[in-house]
C-alpha cells in the first residue's frame, strides 16, 4: 500500500468522526457554492443588459426611479427634443403599463408580480431596447393589435406565436417571441406605442426615453448634457452607471459570501483541529510505533496534515454537490419565473476547493506538529 493510500484510508478509520467533520465543512462549502451560483447568475444577467446596439442612456422623470417608471408621465415631445441634443444618435419613447394578466399561481419573481409589464414602442426602435431578432415577426405600428412577448412570459403563460392575450379588455395577437437577454424585458411584452397610448388613455405620453449616443460620443457626457438642459424634470442614467450600481449590489453579495467563507474557514478549521487532535490523541501508541519502526518526524507530520486535507477535500466535493442541489431545488420550487438562472462558474468551484484546502491546512497543522513531536517512549507507554 502506498503512503498516499494510507493517508486516504486513515481518516475513515473512525467513520462517525470523519462523517461529522465532513458534514460540518460541507455545509460551509455548500453555502459558498450556493451564494456563488446566485451571484454568478446575477452577474451574467446584468452583463447581458449592456448589449451592443441598445441604448446607453435611460431618461426618466425626476424622482421616479430607474425601473419603477410606468404610466404616461413624460411628454412624448421630449423624445424628439432629446434627439436634437448634442451627441445623441437616436431616441425611443416607451410607455410602460402593467398588463394585469396574472401568471399561473406559484409564480413569483420579477415578471409575475400581478401581471407582466407591457411596453409600447415604435417598432423601428426595438434595437434600442436590445431586441434585434424575434421568433416570428414584430408587431406593426398603428392600431393593429399585435404584440411580441419575452421568452419568460411565453413560458409562464404558455403562449406561442398565434396565441392571444387580453390586455385592458382588448385581444392582442402574439406575433413573435423575443429574447433580449435583459431579464427585465424578457419578463415583459412590447407592442405599438400608439396602440398602447390609445388603449390606456395616455395619448402623447411616455414613461421613459431610451437614448442611444453617437459612436464617438461619451454616454456620461451626453447624460450630463440632458440633465443640464432639463434640470427640473428629467433624470438620466447611463447603462454603465446602472451596471455599476448593480455591480455594487453584487459586490455586497460577494463581500457577504467572502465573510461567510471566512466564517466557514474559522468554524471548519476549529472542527478539523478538534477532529485531528482527537485522532492524534487516540493514536498516540500507534504514532509511538511508527517512530519506533523508523518513521521520520516529517513523515508523521505529512501523514496527519495529509489526512486533514483529504478530509476537507472530500468535504469540498460533498459541499459542492450539496450546494448545487440546494440551488436547483430553490430555483425549481421558489423562483419559477426563470428571470435568471443560477450559474456555477469556475471561480466558485476554485473558491470552494481553495477554502477547503485552506481549512485542511490550517486545521491540520497544529495536530500534525503535535503528533510529530511526540516522544516515542512516552507514546509507547500511553494507555
Amino acid at each position: 500500500m502506498s503512503f498516499f493510500t494510507l493517508m486516504i484510508k486513515n481518516p475513515f478509520r473512525n467513520r462517525t468522526r470523519a462523517t461529522l467533520a465532513i458534514i460540518g465543512i460541507a455545509i460551509g462549502i455548500a453555502t459558498i457554492v450556493a451564494l456563488g451560483m446566485v451571484t454568478g447568475g446575477l452577474q451574467s444577467s446584468t452583463q447581458s443588459t449592456l448589449k451592443a446596439g441598445s441604448a446607453e442612456i435611460t431618461v426618466t422623470k425626476i424622482g421616479s426611479g430607474n425601473f419603477g417608471s410606468s404610466g404616461g408621465i413624460l411628454d412624448e415631445s421630449l423624445v424628439t427634443d432629446l434627439k436634437n441634443t448634442n451627441g445623441v444618435k437616436d431616441t425611443a419613447g416607451i410607455l410602460r403599463v402593467n398588463s394585469n394578466v396574472s401568471t399561473p399561481s406559484g409564480g413569483s419573481g420579477f415578471g409575475s408580480m400581478g401581471g407582466f409589464l407591457v411596453n409600447g414602442i415604435d417598432s423601428s426602435k426595438l434595437a434600442l431596447v436590445g431586441i434585434d431578432s424575434v421568433n416570428g415577426t414584430i408587431f406593426t405600428n398603428g392600431s393593429s393589435n399585435e404584440i411580441i412577448i419575452g421568452k419568460t412570459v411565453a413560458q409562464n403563460l404558455n403562449k406561442t406565436v398565434g396565441s392571444t392575450i387580453d390586455i385592458y379588455g382588448t385581444e392582442f395577437e402574439v406575433t413573435g417571441i423575443f429574447e433580449s437577454g435583459n431579464f427585465i424585458y424578457d419578463t415583459g411584452a412590447f407592442t405599438s406605442l400608439s396602440t398602447l397610448q390609445n388603449l390606456t388613455n395616455n395619448t402623447g405620453k411616455v414613461s421613459y426615453i431610451q437614448v442611444k449616443v453617437n459612436d464617438n460620443a461619451n454616454a456620461s457626457q451626453v447624460s450630463k448634457t440632458i440633465q443640464d438642459e432639463h434640470p427640473n424634470d428629467l433624470s438620466a442614467t447611463t447603462a454603465v452607471d446602472l451596471a455599476n450600481r448593480i455591480n455594487q449590489s453584487l459586490g455586497m453579495i460577494d463581500t457577504a459570501s467572502w465573510a461567510i467563507s471566512l466564517l466557514a474557514i474559522v468554524i471548519g478549521g476549529v472542527g478539523v483541529i478538534n477532529t485531528m487532535i482527537m485522532s492524534v490523541f487516540e493514536r498516540t501508541r500507534e504514532i509511538g510505533v511508527l517512530k519506533a519502526v523508523g518513521w521520520k518526524d516529517r513523515r508523521i507530520l505529512g501523514m496527519i496534515l495529509g489526512e486533514s486535507i483529504i478530509l476537507t477535500l472530500v468535504a469540498a466535493v460533498v459541499g459542492i454537490i450539496l450546494g448545487i442541489v440546494a440551488v436547483e431545488i430553490i430555483f425549481k420550487f421558489f423562483i419559477t419565473s426563470q428571470s435568471f438562472e443560477a450559474v456555477l462558474t469556475m471561480d466558485t468551484l476554485l473558491k470552494a476547493f481553495g477554502v477547503a484546502l485552506l481549512v485542511g491546512i490550517v486545521g491540520g497543522l497544529y495536530p500534525a506538529y503535535r503528533a510529530s513531536r511526540l516522544a516515542p517512549t512516552e507514546a509507547l507507554r500511553y494507555e
Partner: protein, 224 residues
C-alpha cells in the same frame, strides 16, 4: 572466532522526573554480533529503559552508547538508524487497528525507498515465515494474541534489522502460545543471524539465550 561487538555501552545513565528517578544508573555492556541475550530483573529495574536506549527511542544523559557502529549520543536524527538496524517487538503487539495484517507489516518500509509492490512481496514473505500468510488481508483485531505477536515479529523483521529488541514478547500470552513465539524468535535468530536482546521474567525462557543479564536498580548485576 572472536566476533565484533554490535552494542557497546559504557557508564550509561538515564533519569526521569528531573533526576529523581535513576532508571539507568551506570550501565556497562558489550554484546557481540549474532548473540542471543536475555535480560532479567524486577519490575522497574530499568530493563525497558535499557532496550529503549539501544533502540534509540530515547536519549541518555551520560555515558556512551554505540550500536551497529553508530554513536547514539552524537547522532541527531536517529530515525534512519531505527528503521535499518532495529526491529522492536513489544509486550503489547501494538498493531494498528483497521489496517490489515499485511499493511501493518508494510509500515516500517515507508521510510525506505521500496516500491509498493516490493513492499507487498516482502511483507508476504515475512508473514509466510511466521506462518500467517493466509491471514494477510485480515484485520488484526480478528487474530488471537499469539497470532498478533507473530505479526509484530514479522513487522520487526521486514527491514532486515541487525538487532531485534524484544521487551517481554510473551508477557501477555499464555505459556503455550508464548512458547510458539519464543521458538519462532529463536529460529529466526539462528536463521537470520540477527542479534537478539530479549527481556523476560521466565527463568526457563532466559535459559534459551547465550547469556543472561540481571538488571537491578538501573545497573547490571552479574552475568552468567
Amino acid at each position: 572466532m572472536t566476533k565484533e561487538n554490535v552494542i557497546e555501552i559504557h557508564n550509561l545513565r538515564k533519569t526521569y522526573d528531573k533526576g529523581k528517578i535513576k532508571a539507568l544508573n551506570g550501565i556497562d555492556l558489550e554484546i557481540k554480533k549474532g548473540e542471543f541475550i536475555s535480560i532479567m530483573g524486577p519490575s522497574g529495574s530499568g530493563k525497558s529503559t535499557l532496550l529503549n536506549m539501544i533502540g534509540a527511542l530515547d536519549r541518555a544523559e551520560e555515558g556512551t552508547i554505540k550500536v551497529a557502529g553508530i554513536n547514539l549520543m552524537k547522532t541527531r536524527d536517529l530515525s534512519e538508524f531505527r528503521s535499518q538496524e532495529i526491529g522492536f517487538v513489544f509486550q503489547m503487539h501494538n498493531l494498528v487497528p483497521n489496517l490489515s495484517v499485511l499493511e501493518n507489516v508494510e509500515i516500517p518500509m515507508y521510510e525506505t525507498r521500496v516500491k509498493s509492490e516490493e513492499m507487498r512481496r516482502r511483507a508476504l514473505e515475512l508473514l509466510e515465515a511466521v506462518g500467517l500468510k493466509d491471514k494477510a488481508d485480515k484485520n488484526p483485531t480478528k487474530l488471537s494474541g499469539g497470532e498478533r505477536q507473530r505479526v509484530a515479529i514479522a513487522r520487526a523483521l521486514v527491514n532486515h534489522p541487525s538487532i531485534i529488541l524484544a521487551d517481554e514478547p510473551t508477557g501477555a500470552l499464555d505459556s503455550k502460545t508464548g512458547d510458539v513465539i519464543l521458538n519462532l524468535l529463536k529460529s529466526l535468530h539462528s536463521k537470520e543471524q540477527v542479534t537478539l536482546v530479549m527481556v523476560t521474567h521466565e527463568p526457563y525462557v532466559a535459559e534459551m539465550a547465550d547469556r543472561i543479564l540481571h538488571v537491578l536498580d538501573g545497573k547490571i548485576n552479574n552475568s552468567s
